[in-house]
Each structure stands twice: as C-alpha cells, then as structure tokens.
Symmetry: C2
Subunit: 130 residues, 2 copies
C-alpha cells in the first residue's frame, strides 16, 4: 500500500467567490467542476501542482452542509489515491470504510471510519472512470 | 508563480500516539522529526507520496496550543512551496505575509495574512537550507 495525496478538501459557502483567489492570486488552474448529487455538493478541483484542492459548496442538506453550519468554512478532509479500495480496506485493521460509491470525478470512493486525530480520510482510486 | 503543495499540517495532542497509524496502517514513511522552538511545537513529517503530512504537537503556549484548546485535533493549514517568498508576496494583492522566519526543516517560511474561506496558507521555499 503506497497511497498518494489526491486532494485536500475545503468547505466553502460559495464556489464562485472562493475560486478566483486560487486562480488569479495563487496562479493555480481550475481543472474541473461538477455537481455531486449523492454528497449534496458542487465541487471545483484546483490544480495545486502535485495534488488537487477540492472546493466543496453544499447545495443540499447533508454532511457538508452540517460541517459548514457547525464549523464554518475551512479544511474538511484529505483524500488518498490508492490502486484498489477494497484491497486497501483489507490491509487496514478493523476498517470496513463507508460503502464504496462513485464519487468525485467519476471515481470510486469511500471514507475511512477511523478518523485519526480528527482527520477525515477519503480513499479514491487512481484510475479515473471518465 | 506556480506553487505546489508542500505539506498539509495536522495538529495532534501527542506525536508518538499519532504517528503509528500513518506508518503501520497507511504505509507511509516518517521522514523527519524536529522541535520548532519559535512555533512552540514538535513536528513530524510523513511522506504521503507526492506531498508531506506535517503532524504538529504543541509543547509550549502559542498559536498551535491555542488551536488545540479551541478546536481540538485536526487539519490546521496547507503549505505551498514557492521559489522565492518575497517575490511571491509581491505578486499577491495587499499581502505582506507574516515576517519571514526560518521554519520547519530549516526552510524560510511565512503565513499569508489572507485566510481564504478559513484556510490558513503557509509559504515555504523549495530549496531546503539543510
């Protein structure tokens, strides 16, 4: 198991207001936008060179809206890219993960149930299903 | 300006308790540990493949201890590696940054004063002063 950091997720109230700073000030590129119906969010992916930043705006009630209500905007989770999610879960101790679904960018995804030191960890698969 | 993600920082109560999950479960490598006197922390750097995770344990009163007291453990900031911090600050609008100091791993560092959507952003320089 040799994961790599796929993205760092950031919860924002408004994507259109959040994106320009990363593009026009920090010089990063907006590479993809989508609505993720299951998660109740709109997502924007920004290329930070070697990894992505994923901006998430809640558009319906759900975990991201709850996070926003409770904590305000800010860093939400990290996502590790692995070759195979079920195989990765098998290698972890007492870790079934949340049910695997098609998540951001059409890739298989799940969250680990273990949240080490408050850090939510998502797994996604390296191969894009696009 | 084409920054890359250098590390994602995570505040923890106890480094020794936090490190093993990343090493033994997630299969990452512990690459460096140090005490950062100015910041009042002990830091451990974990190689997440294409970027680092920086675990920070406060050892003295300061911003990291305050974060821990207020928010508990969790994601704290992202750090972007740039070629030259003063040059980068000059390219940003109304951004003086915090005073540049020698930070983690002996590299020059500062934090941006602008905290977009609650995301603390540190700058560090690519060239290590080791």
């Amino acid at each position: 198991m040799s994961p790599k950091l796929d993205h760092v997720a950031i919860v924002v109230r408004n994507l259109e207001e959040a994106i320009p700073y990363y593009i026009h000030e920090l010089g990063m590129a907006l590479v993809y936008e989508e609505e993720q119906a299951v998660a109740g969010v709109r997502a924007a992916y920004i290329d930070a060179g070697n990894a992505l930043l994923q901006l998430l705006q809640p558009v319906r009630p759900g975990p991201i809206q709850e996070f926003l209500d409770e904590h305000g905007e800010g860093l939400h989770h990290i996502c590790l890219a692995v070759t195979d999610i079920p195989e990765t879960l098998n290698q972890l101790t007492n870790e079934a993960g949340t049910p695997v679904s098609i998540g951001g960018w059409g890739r298989r995804t799940c969250f680990l149930r273990h949240v080490p030191e408050g850090v939510r960890i998502e797994l996604t698969e390296v191969e894009l299903a696009r």
